[in-house]
């Protein structure tokens, strides 16, 4: 029965994707992309990927929509039609689709336990997580401990992207600087003239932050971890920025602090690795962090998840702020 639900949802996904590509109104495309993201997150959940579904919900449906909208207000709302190579592109796409669908007939069926993917390292991870790491969530164990190098690389990519955006927007001062300094009482800043959303939003922000912390530190036992928590905490601050305007968020989180967060999280991650070397283990080997290897693993995972969360929060808030502040000047 759940297979049928999956098929139904996948069909909806294809319809949504077609509509996204077809519409000329970019706002509509972004709203539909939000729906697309919700659908794909439900699919992930049906396919047993709870952690991924949580990430996709927080990032895809939340942060991504907001970033696209912020960029849209700075660029154009409508796409101009008229592409010279439309037929050629359609031809290429149709042929490739047919070839790829032909290729799928050799793939193992959905959920086949004998498929090659299920044979290699995954059983080892599932078998050794309880004794070597001692936490119930295997995804977190693999992410933070077994494949800690990978995750360090991912954090560096996020760090680099964040620095890139800050450079893009920071290198050149705003064209209309000076008189248009952000005035905190300028009418129409943020949603402040909508009283009810403002009150409810302010009421909710502490709970969202609390939930973000819960996701961060409960990641060992259930779906969660630094990536998801970073996105949720960033969403809470973005809500604050929407309600109170960009000037207010800068007062709460100055750009210097944000830059410090971005670098500090990645540094914390690296420092845990170096601490492993200094204590006589190898890089990112948490077992030496405490007398008992399993306690060491717990400490290591806690620290690096915190590092990931801090970096992700910093990058997402800075990127949003960079886009939104430019729009409101």
């Amino acid at each position: 029965m759940t297979v049928l639900f999956g098929v139904f949802l996948l069909t909806l996904i294809v319809i949504t994707a077609l509509a996204i590509v077809q519409t000329q109104h970019l706002f509509v495309a972004v709203i539909l992309a939000g729906i697309f993201s919700l659908l794909i997150a439900v699919i992930f959940f049906l396919l047993d990927a709870a952690d991924v579904a949580l990430t996709e919900a927080a990032i895809g449906a939340g942060i991504s929509t907001m970033l696209f909208l912020a960029a849209l207000t700075l660029t154009a709302e409508y796409e101009r039609s008229g592409s010279a190579n439309r037929l050629l592109a359609l031809g290429v796409v149709a042929v490739t689709t047919l070839i790829m669908i032909y290729a799928t007939f050799d793939k193992p069926r959905l959920g086949d336990p004998a498929a090659p993917v299920q044979q290699h390292v995954a059983p080892w991870y599932l078998e050794h997580t309880p004794e070597a790491i001692g936490i119930p969530n295997v995804v977190t164990a693999v992410l933070a401990s077994f494949r800690g190098y990978d995750t360090l690389g991912e954090v560096s990519v996020i760090l680099t992207a964040g620095i890139g955006v800050l450079f893009l927007f920071g290198a050149k001062p705003r064209r209309q600087s000076g008189p248009q300094r952000i005035a905190p009482h300028e009418p129409g800043r943020g949603l402040r003239h909508y009283l009810i959303p403002r009150v409810v939003g302010q009421l909710l922000i502490p709970f969202i932050l609390l939930f973000g912390l819960y996701v961060q530190f409960h990641g060992d036992y259930g779906p969660g971890g630094g990536f998801q928590a970073g996105a949720i905490v960033a969403a809470a601050f973005i809500l604050y920025a929407l309600l109170e305007g960009e000037a207010q968020i800068l007062r709460v989180l100055p750009q210097r602090l944000l830059t410090g967060l971005i670098a500090g999280g990645a540094l914390l991650y690296g420092a845990v690795g170096v601490a492993g070397i200094l204590l006589g283990g190898s890089f990112l080997d948490y077992s030496v962090l405490a007398a008992n290897p399993i306690t060491g693993q717990h400490i290591g995972i806690l620290l690096i998840e915190a590092g990931v969360g801090i970096t992700v929060t910093g990058v997402l808030i800075s990127v949003f702020h960079a886009l939104a502040a430019r729009g409101s000047v």
């Binding site: 909806l12 319809i15 972004v30 939000g34 729906i35 907001m66 996701v215 779906p223 949720i232 969403a235």
Partner: protein
Amino acid sequence: MYYVVIIATLATMILALVRALLGPSVYDRVLAANMFGTKTVLLLAVIAFLYGRPDFLDLALAYTLINFIGVLAILEFIRRRAPSSAADHDTGS
């Protein structure tokens, strides 16, 4: 018995999706997207119980909060675009 709810929710999702595709105004689409989000929350809560893993209710909670922020963000940026898109035509071409 959970299946009744799941099927009803899925059917509503398709109705909301049709509304999101038809429009006609941007606000209709936002309404449909908001409704879609609520339906997703319900669907996830019910599926978590169907799978016998009630610890996954965290997801539904996250969806509720993110959905709210998303709708407010869309409204705010729709409001913001009015002056900026007018400026578009001056500098655009």
